[in-house]
Symmetry: C2
Subunit: 303 residues, 2 copies
DNA sequence: GACATTCATAGCAAAAGCTCATGAATTGAT
DNA sequence: ATCAATTCATGAGCTTTTGCTATGAATGTC
């Protein structure tokens, strides 16, 4: 057999109180059990730890040394328990995840804000990544999950759609524009438009879908960052061609989105997880927040 | 129940090997036992530690954190065991003891030398103390035992005589002196003598014994340190009046001791221990060495 | 000298731990 | 595609450990 923490607990108790009886009481066991545990410990260490008579319990020199080590181990044990409990309750920890660039800039800030409010001590490591890299990176890095637009099936991956936004024209709330329920892609040809560069995923999806119908988007401006497009739109330079989800209502209160139809295109925002891997409690909490916030957002956008 | 080292041992094994089966083999238990222990640990910490399928055992993030703590505790446990074993075998440790000034300077150096040869890693803390302080200091300080001349009975003290020396005249090995078997105290009156100061214990014993017989020692020189007396004797300044045991043969090869008689006085060198207190293994080893060396010395002095 | 306190030990009951046997899932080979 | 092999989980049964109660021995107190 080997030394046990139980023995050490009794040992430190006896060392401190100089009494087996008192230590036993502290630990909620009987004196005889404590006595036995001390004897076991002595036997296992091969050292006399206490000079005991019926009247006194004097620690030996060896006990003094052992005490320090024992205390350390016990406090480590307690620290471990506490730390794990904190992790379990998502009161501590770290969430490492991937986000596609668009999601990271437009959608996740509000999730982050909400999450930080409810879980102030959790460290967040959001890594923004090109949409194409989402899946490969998730398999190889230590990120626990990924949020972004990924479609299709992937081996060893779970995909769950958190929200999806219809491809929309985003413009200033003018009487004209606000009156529209939707716009067709064809109508856009007449108007100044701001779209994402053709290297971006959003744009590729648009171009593919349109060309399948023999159509083509000919934007007035092409930009890389979603925020740039929105800022330009707010300045009245044109309509931004983006999923409705990408419009942060709180940041651009003057802008509204109107779905584009013929064809109607939707762009999902998905949660990717590695199959068979449990998320850390902190990550679970974060994902829950994301689901909540984004679900709310879908309702908003559609209403 | 609480976390046990047993669980942690299995845990670290599984963490390292990424396999319950392999870890179980390493620890010499069955796979099912290991599986159970991991489940227990998870339950107690409230955290999932491994994502297990029949094919793989992947540590979670929490496991990574727990691993560090677990390893530390286990290595502490091992360190504790090893350290205690070393202490038990007197391969490590520290001996704290008291020695009366005379013993410390004349008798113990050779004990120390011998002990150091056989137990090189044991630290020695010898505290020299006035003979009167021997007993009071032993009760109050952390010294484990004391060596010196103490006579009588003391509460809670064990006294064991290690050796005893007859009060002798110590002088240079001249033909005259060497021829003598002994000297009487009366004869000393005619000769130049070097004695300890009257505050010292040795001197007090002498004065007391002689005055009981209506005699009196009238030394030519009085000194405080035994070594001084011997050095003076070696210079031919007179005969040193000391217990024969106080003559270190190796240091003063020119000197010899001849017992004083009428009355013949002996001065014990004793080992004092606190009753009911176990000596540390290191101290036991030291005491054993002292017994051996000093017993040998008695034989030498008497032969 | 009676009393109270404290540690040790023995007997017994309860709990925990381990092994064996078996089942389910998954991988790799034929 | 089926079969064999590997791996983890689970349940039954046995062994060991643990803890409690009761009692004894020693020691200090009034």
């Amino acid at each position: 057999m080997n030394v046990t923490l139980r023995q050490l607990r009794v040992f430190t108790g006896v060392y401190r109180t100089r009494s087996i009886t008192r230590a036993a009481r502290e630990l909620g066991i009987t004196q005889s059990a404590a006595s036995l545990l001390i004897q076991q410990l002595e036997a296992q260490l091969g050292v006399k730890l206490f000079d005991r008579s019926t009247r006194s319990v004097q620690p030996t020199l060896a006990a003094g040394e052992a005490f320090a080590a024992a205390e350390r181990m016990l406090s480590d044990a307690q620290g471990l328990s506490r730390r794990m409990r904190d992790l379990a309750q998502a009161r501590a920890g770290r969430v490492v995840f991937l986000a596609s660039a668009g999601t990271a800039s437009a959608l996740l800030p509000m999730v982050l804000a909400k999450f930080r409010a409810s879980h102030p001590d959790i460290e967040i490591d959001m890594r923004d990544v090109a949409a194409d890299d989402l899946v490969p990176r998730l398999s190889t890095t230590d990120a626990e999950f990924a949020i972004g637009s990924a479609e299709g099936e992937f081996a060893d991956m779970t995909i769950e759609t958190l929200t999806s936004g219809r491809l929309s024209a985003i413009g200033r709330r003018t009487a004209d524009f606000a009156a529209r329920r939707s716009l067709t892609w064809d109508e856009l040809a007449q108007l100044p438009t701001i779209a994402m560069r053709s290297e971006t995923r959003i744009r590729m999806q648009i171009d593919q879908a349109l060309s399948a119908q023999g159509k083509r988007l000919d934007p007035t401006y092409e930009v890389t960052l979603i925020n740039t497009a929105l800022a330009m739109t707010a300045q009245g330079l044109g309509l931004a061609i983006l999923p409705a989800t990408m419009l942060p209502a709180d940041q651009f209160s003057t802008l509204i989105a109107r779905p584009l139809v013929r064809p109607a295109l939707t762009r999902p925002v998905s949660l990717l997880q590695r199959q068979g891997r449990t998320l850390s409690p902190a990550a679970q909490a974060f994902v829950a927040t994301a689901r909540m916030v984004l679900a709310g957002r879908t309702a908003q956008a559609s209403g």
